[in-house]
Subunit: 104 residues, 2 copies
């Protein structure tokens, strides 16, 4: 039996990581503070999820100094964008499967 | 700032649990073996996720004997169906937000 949930990738599907990739799909890059506020998570929580995404090759993390101010920029890689697209496709399939029979 | 990922409920959103609720949205009830095969998980993994859903009041688990054969039936509660509907709504919002700007 096939189930749409099987198509989901845990690395991308997890709520906070999905949120990070959603933000990065809308803008070329986002800084750590922006992501933390947008996703309402703690520093530690965001760091952990960014590490998982970085280890999977889905985001690139760059720590730079702007004047004296350190800033952490996060951007999705091509692989990350593709993984996010696959997740959206899997979610669309799951939704279509649920909505389908009802619409008949 | 609002982010669609914030609307997601970790209890329902987790991949295997989302799969369980998707199966239960399509049929009144499902047995343990069917869910295990459909979601391609181990007994222990499925049990753990069912416990999380049961603790949240999202599924009802019934162990019965059919003749001499023990069978575990799982059904979604009304609260569980509502939580699944909210998840689908949150996912639709997330997808619409991503697809929206591209369509313009």
């Amino acid at each position: 039996m096939s189930n749409a949930a099987l198509q989901l990738d845990d690395v991308v599907h997890q709520r906070v990581r999905l949120g990070i990739l959603a933000v990065l799909a809308e803008s070329r890059r986002a800084d750590f503070v922006y992501l933390r506020e947008a996703l309402e998570v703690t520093d530690g929580n965001l760091s952990r999820h960014l590490q998982v995404l970085e280890a999977a090759g889905y985001v690139r993390i760059e720590k730079i100094f702007e004047g004296r101010r350190p800033r952490t920029w996060v951007a999705a890689t091509t692989t990350g964008r593709e993984a996010f697209e696959s997740e959206l496709e899997a979610l669309r399939n799951l939704i279509a499967r649920i909505d389908g029979p009802r619409a008949e």
